[in-house]
């Protein structure tokens, strides 16, 4: 008899994967159209920072970050569940998935919150002319 241990159900993971997938469609479109819009002179960083000082945009970007990270890492974990047979290895991969998601979440949130003023931000945090 193969290992068919019961316990690690998937109803939540499956449901939220679909839900985040659906919500991500409009959120991703808004994000792409506003944050990655190309202008005549390339990417308009100034316009991005102009938007990002608005707390509502910050909230939207953090929502996007949470949804995208959940969707990506939950999808990755589903692959591990499909292909990794050893429950020990699966546990390690699960921990790494959660850790990877958390690290990227922190990096993303810090980046979003650190944009406090419009304009080009130099390496020393100075607004360039």
């Amino acid at each position: 008899m193969r290992d068919r241990g019961i316990g690690s159900g998937g109803v939540m993971g499956w449901f939220f994967q679909r839900l985040t997938g659906i919500v991500l469609v409009p959120v991703l479109l808004v994000h792409l159209l506003t944050m990655h819009r190309y202008h005549d002179h390339g990417l308009a960083w100034e316009q991005v920072t102009n938007l990002m000082i608005n707390p509502y945009w910050k909230a939207l970007e953090i929502t996007f970050l949470v949804l995208a990270l959940y969707h990506a890492f939950n999808g990755l974990y589903a692959l591990f569940q499909d292909y990794v047979k050893s429950s020990g290895v699966r546990l390690v991969l699960f921990s790494l998935t959660v850790l990877g998601g958390l690290v990227l979440f922190i990096v993303g949130v810090v980046t979003v919150l650190s944009i406090q003023s419009p304009g080009l931000v130099g390496t020393a945090g100075k607004v360039l002319p």
């Binding site: 068919r4 159900g9 998937g10 109803v11 499956w14 449901f15 499909d82």
Partner: protein, 234 residues
Amino acid sequence: MMERIFRIFRFNPETDKEPYYDTFTIEVQDTWTILDGLNAIKWHHDGTLSYRRSCRHGICGSCAMMINGKNDLACEKQISSVKGEITVEPLKGFPVTRDLMVDQTHFFEGLRLVKPWLINHTAPPTDKERLQTPEDRKLLDGTWECILCGACTSSCPAFWDNDSFLGPAALLKAYRYICDTRDEGLDERIGILDSKVGVWRCHTIFNCVEACPKDLNPTNAIVQLRRRLIQEKL
């Protein structure tokens, strides 16, 4: 009578290191099925050829095998419907015990886990059967016809990579009882269905639908089971 060429997968784990293919050219009649062809080979050419069959009427599910790359029932598939050389191989995804015979122990273990029988804790009426309305009975159509041949599970890539996955046949069987209005066994089955070997391992690839010789739709059953689990758990 006409001549047809059969190319048959052969493997005897006791004597062969590797599987190989044997070719037989035999006289067949227009009305013969693949199973008739295999019988002719076994009875008149090579008595060691091994395959499983029983009813010869598409009912017992014993004779599922891969015929020219597609899972089918040897006793239903007409030789005349196959063009050119006829390649016959065992069902993929199961260990080969000999030639066209595969070990389905694991397949039936998985089936038993979903408790494929009517669970009802209420005592039946003493003067009649547990009756259903015609509408309730209709819900079972497309589920009860499964003959457990294993063609669907053997065609499922999710099963090839993870043979702990219950697979489409066991899940269709689970749905056959769960959608039965006389059944009260959802609670007893929910653990295995929602487990890491249950419905979430299906990625709606639809191979099972294509493979089923009875034209059933195990993918739809899996989707319905997911719907029930979500209703129950969320």
